[in-house]
């Protein structure tokens, strides 16, 4: 592959398996901002988001075989990794003060950086539309779990609902969103 910027994501991951640092740099160029953006949204603290982003890319470097292109896009894989690590981190921060500080500084959902790429903006818009079209109780459960990093058990506690109800709301909401996004041509990310 002469031009890294013309290589597909799967090709780049194969090259990473051969210790091609340029390939990792290209993956970072394409997806680093999204990985960081998600971690930052969940953690608020930029230093912690840096750490999560670094972990995600070092993990890809050391274990490229974890990515299976038949199961989804590289962007989705990296974002899911970023989310999992951010959630692990936020749940380990038990200090009430830390949480309160996060709540105080949290930006409202839907306020996006103006520098997003056109594609990201378009997708984000569709995703936001799909999210807001959900029944409020489903949207609320998903947002508490995904963007606040709570377990579904904790979400049930916060909302004063049975755990089974919250499980169902999240699953139904997620399936509904998937149908909507697939219908408009957005199947996850890139």
């Amino acid at each position: 592959m002469d031009q890294l910027d013309e290589a597909g994501d799967a090709q780049l991951v194969t090259m990473i398996g051969r210790y091609h640092e340029g390939a990792l740099a290209e993956v970072y160029r394409r997806h680093g901002g999204a990985v960081y953006g998600l971690a930052r949204k969940i953690l608020v603290n930029s230093a912690e988001a840096d750490d999560v982003t670094q972990d995600v890319f070092l993990r890809l470097w050391n274990h490229p075989d974890r990515f299976d292109p038949s199961r989804g896009s590289l962007r989705s894989f990296l974002l899911n990794d970023s989310h999992g690590r951010a959630v692990d981190l936020i749940r380990s921060l038990n200090s009430r003060r830390a949480r309160e500080e996060r709540e105080a500084h949290r930006s409202p959902v839907g306020v996006y950086d103006l520098q997003h790429r056109v594609w990201d903006l378009a997708v984000a818009e569709e995703v936001q539309r799909a999210l807001t079209s959900l029944p409020p109780e489903e949207r609320e459960a998903i947002e508490l779990a995904y963007f606040q990093g709570h377990s579904y058990v904790k979400v049930a506690e916060i909302l004063g609902q049975p755990e089974g109800t919250i499980k169902s709301r999240i699953r139904n909401g997620m399936r509904r969103m998937r149908s909507t996004l697939v219908a408009v041509g957005v199947q996850g990310a890139e």
């Binding site: 002469d2 210790y19 680093g32 999204a34 982003t53 962007r75 579904y152 699953r171 996850g188």
Partner: protein, 268 residues
């Protein structure tokens, strides 16, 4: 965990909102249930879309990441990781040097991290022991085969014939800048150098060709300090997945002692 219980949890799991024993039980179920695994893949795509905010990637953060790529390399045992410029052939003026942005990983370093070699096994010994690669040895005492000049099997006619024969495989080797520097053709267990942009080395150095099998470098042979006519054998039960070239002392090395200067994947 029943299938119905697992299905009910998939949405929360895709959002990383399932903890502890329940998470472990769900993961066990998903690993054995194709339907749940398929639904989970779809839900994870939705979760990723939720998180796809997109911001410019920070150059500072990349520099921090790239500085840690080789943290777990045992520096006492491996050559220093450094940026390498492959010597340029005089007849290839179009390949002007470009700034080095990515250091080339040392092969031995790579092996120590990824394949977790235990004891160091010599390349030739490994080839003989596992019986995966037959190497044409000209000088057994040196544990390497001097391909250039000594074998001198690769005439242009042979190479052209191989390229015209159905079933041949071509392997392009790229340098650190993804520039093609060499091309081989493989046919019926024989390999031939088709073209080379690799420049002339000092007389006390040689290019050495390696085949990578199961992450282990197996010496294929020496290519000399100015490769042009090279042939080699890669017959065996298992073929290498990658060809790689390092620069070694003129007598060759039994294991790589310097970073890879070019490599290419062998695809069937």
């Amino acid at each position: 965990m029943t299938h119905e219980e697992a299905q009910e949890l998939l949405g929360a799991y895709a959002l990383d909102a399932v903890d502890g024993d329940e998470r472990a039980a769900l993961e066990r179920h998903v690993s054995e249930c194709v339907r749940c695994a398929s639904e989970l893949d779809g839900l994870r795509e939705v979760a990723a879309a939720l998180g796809n905010q997109g911001e410019p990637a920070s150059q500072e953060l990349w520099e921090r990441i790239s500085a840690r790529l080789y943290d777990d390399v045992d520096e006492a045992r491996v050559p220093p990781i450094r940026a390498l410029e492959l010597p340029h052939a005089e007849h290839s003026p179009s390949r002007a040097p470009t700034p080095v942005s990515a250091p080339v990983v040392a092969l031995r370093a790579a092996m120590s991290r990824r394949a977790r070699f235990g004891a160091v096994v010599t390349a030739v010994a490994a080839a003989l022991l596992v019986g995966v690669l037959s190497v044409s040895l000209i000088n057994a005492n040196n544990h390497v085969s001097q391909l250039t000049n000594a074998l001198n099997l690769a005439s242009h006619n042979v190479v052209d014939a191989a390229l015209e024969t159905p079933g041949h495989v071509t392997v392009t080797l790229n340098d650190a800048h993804s520039v093609n520097v060499a091309k081989f053709v493989l046919l019926n267990g024989q390999g031939y150098l088709v073209s080379s942009q690799m420049g002339t080395l000092p007389t006390d150095k040689t290019y050495q060709l390696w085949g990578i099998i199961d992450h282990k470098p197996i010496s294929i042979g020496l290519m000399g300090n100015s490769p042009h006519e090279v042939s080699f054998s890669v017959e065996g039960a298992r073929l290498p997945t990658t060809l790689a070239v390092t620069i070694e002392p003129a007598g060759g090395s039994v294991t790589p002692t310097s970073p890879i200067v070019a490599s290419g994947t062998i695809s069937a």
